[in-house]
């Protein structure tokens, strides 16, 4: 969410893809290529950040619509494989 002009993750990936494609196809002025490259780097950073930014959380939603953390046992502190 650091970049206001990036709507969401999927839109960012789609845009990144189209930028790479345009760059690979060539036929762009230097200014255009540089602008696209810059945008591409921003998008790629944004996507990476989004992939890693969430922290592991397990919550329970009650019948009344309240969220609370799940008990530790449930969240899988048992032996992992």
């Amino acid at each position: 969410m650091s970049e206001p002009s990036i709507k969401d993750f999927e839109a960012a990936i789609a845009e990144l893809e189209s930028i790479v494609k345009k760059l690979e196809d060539g036929d762009l002025s230097l200014e255009q290529s540089l602008a696209l490259y810059e945008r591409g780097v921003t998008l790629s950073k944004f996507c990476h950040a989004r992939l890693e930014d969430a922290e592991r959380r397990i919550e329970l939603l009650s019948e009344r619509g309240e969220l609370r953390p799940a008990p530790a046992g449930l969240a899988g502190d048992d032996p992992t494989r």
């Binding site: 290529s33 922290e55 449930l74 992992t80």
Partner: protein, 480 residues
């Protein structure tokens, strides 16, 4: 049970009449307690019918009968009416709403069923019928039939249409899970998620997954969890079990809740072989809860790789571009043509400047012309008002002016003619004309006086002589 059914009605050695009649009919008595010989006892139709009814109800208190349903109809009272038939006989049947409620399947014509109930009589029509407590389809189990029926209905409604299926989000911000906290399903899901992606955010809505009211609870849980902000996908399911255990997932409320969900739903019910209505309604069907979890995070893995590859391509594009450019710069700077190019560039620049100036001038001129025109128009507008007010005066003025002008012109003409004549006369009087004939005029030194008398000068005086052409200065050498 069926021992009752096995007793043939006709062989009933029933000597038993209604207690009141027992006393009055000591003679032979038939099965319905009617005396044929003694004390002719005449019954009303109702009395007879009531006796028949009581008898049948007692005899056939609980029977099982098998046949094909036809004429099935549910009245607006909610009771079900039907006829049960086989190749040669028919039996009217009725099932009260209270009993009907417990049927999982919907009775329809042509269905082969076993009915359990008691035989009774409908007095107004003198018909006997079975009052049915339970119906069970033959062949298919009741649940199976119910499944097929609901499936067919929802299918016809388009609930399972492939076009309705939505793709799973690439990267769900939060993953919703609707299942029981007691079963293995929730642990399976969390285990897979934990192994595959540590930073996953899960919201679990615990719910009953079997037994009475489970379907309604699951449906409610679904409707609730899809409203939690950032939950982008929901897994709904439970571990494997018998058809009865999984039944809630074959009920309409669950299918409906899945179908109206604004976000994609992954169903994960039981083991691979059990396909439920929920599976059909879901956007994606996972064979097990673990598989559902893998479907969700597998996407995340994919996406990570995809981004990495895109990034690499992006960078290598940029590198290639920079290399190409720097090579070109080298080439160009090594060429003499570059100098010419610079000059051409400068010329072009100048030409551009000139054009810009010309354009600016043209614009300014056009603008000035317009603003002048505007002023003219404004002036005319101003004059318009005044002119209107003074219109009459002006007309008069013009008339006077015209006359004045005429008079003046006439006078001028006359004056001019007169002047011409006078000028002619003046010409003939001019001394210059005399001089042309050889005369001269002598002036004193100061040129203030023409000298007419020799006595006016003395020897040695300077005099001036004007000739027809030019003038002379002279000294008086003597008076004669």
């Amino acid at each position: 049970m069926s021992d009752l059914f096995d007793l043939p009605f006709e062989e009933e050695p029933e000597p038993e009449p209604a207690p009141s009649e027992a006393a009055t009919s000591p003679g032979r008595v038939d099965g319905l307690g009617l005396s044929k010989v003694e004390g002719r006892r005449i019954l009303s139709v109702t009395e007879l019918t009531v006796r028949v009814r009581d008898h049948l109800e007692e005899r056939f208190f609980e029977v099982w009968v098998e046949g094909e349903l036809s004429g099935v109809k549910i009245w607006n009272t909610g009771h079900l009416y039907f006829t049960l038939k086989d190749s040669s006989s028919v039996l009217k049947g009725l099932m009260f709403r209270s009993a009907l409620r417990y049927l999982k399947f919907k009775p329809v014509d042509g269905l082969h069923v076993v009915a359990r109930g008691k035989i009774s009589v409908y007095e107004p029509k003198g018909e006997y019928q079975i009052v049915c407590e339970h119906l069970e389809p033959q062949g298919l189990g009741g649940l199976q039939l119910a499944f097929e029926q609901l499936k067919k209905r929802l299918q016809a409604e388009g609930l399972f249409d492939a076009a309705k299926k939505r793709p799973l989000p690439l990267l769900p911000r939060k993953i919703g899970v609707v299942t029981s906290l007691d079963g293995a399903a929730v642990r399976d899901i969390l285990k897979v998620l934990r192994r595959r992606y540590r930073n996953v955010h899960v919201v679990i809505r615990p719910t009953k997954v079997q037994g009475d009211g489970a379907a309604a609870e699951i449906a409610h849980a679904l409707r609730q969890i899809v409203k939690v902000p950032h939950v982008d996908v929901v897994i709904v399911g439970r571990g494997g079990g018998s058809l009865e255990d999984l039944w809630a997932f074959n009920e309409e409320p669950v299918a409906r809740a899945i179908s109206i969900s604004p976000i994609p739903v992954i169903s994960a019910v039981g083991h691979e072989s059990d396909v439920t209505i929920a599976d059909l309604a879901a956007d994606v069907r996972a064979p097990t809860p673990s598989a559902a979890a893998e479907l969700v995070v597998a996407r995340k893995d994919d996406v990570g790789n995809r981004i990495d590859r895109l990034h690499e391509r992006l960078v290598s594009c940029a590198h290639a571009r920079v290399q190409r450019l720097s090579r070109r710069v080298h080439e160009l700077s090594g060429r003499r043509a570059l100098a010419g190019y610079t000059t051409r560039l400068a010329m072009t620049q100048r030409r551009a400047d000139e054009l810009t100036r010309t354009l600016a001038d043209a614009l300014r001129t056009a603008f000035a012309a317009r603003s002048r025109r505007l002023q003219t128009i404004e002036r005319r507008l101003d004059a318009f008002d005044l002119g209107r007010r003074l219109a009459r005066n002006r007309t008069a003025l013009v008339a006077v002016d015209g006359k004045l002008r005429q008079t003046a012109t006439a006078r001028t003409h006359r004056a001019r003619a007169q002047f011409g004549r006078l000028a002619g006369r003046l010409e003939s009087l001019s001394p210059l004309a005399v001089l042309a004939r050889g005369y001269a005029v002598c002036w004193n030194d100061e040129r203030t006086k023409a000298i007419r008398d020799a006595a006016d000068v003395a020897t040695g005086d300077t005099i001036h002589v004007t000739l027809s052409r030019g003038a002379i200065a002279a000294k008086v050498s003597g008076i004669e």
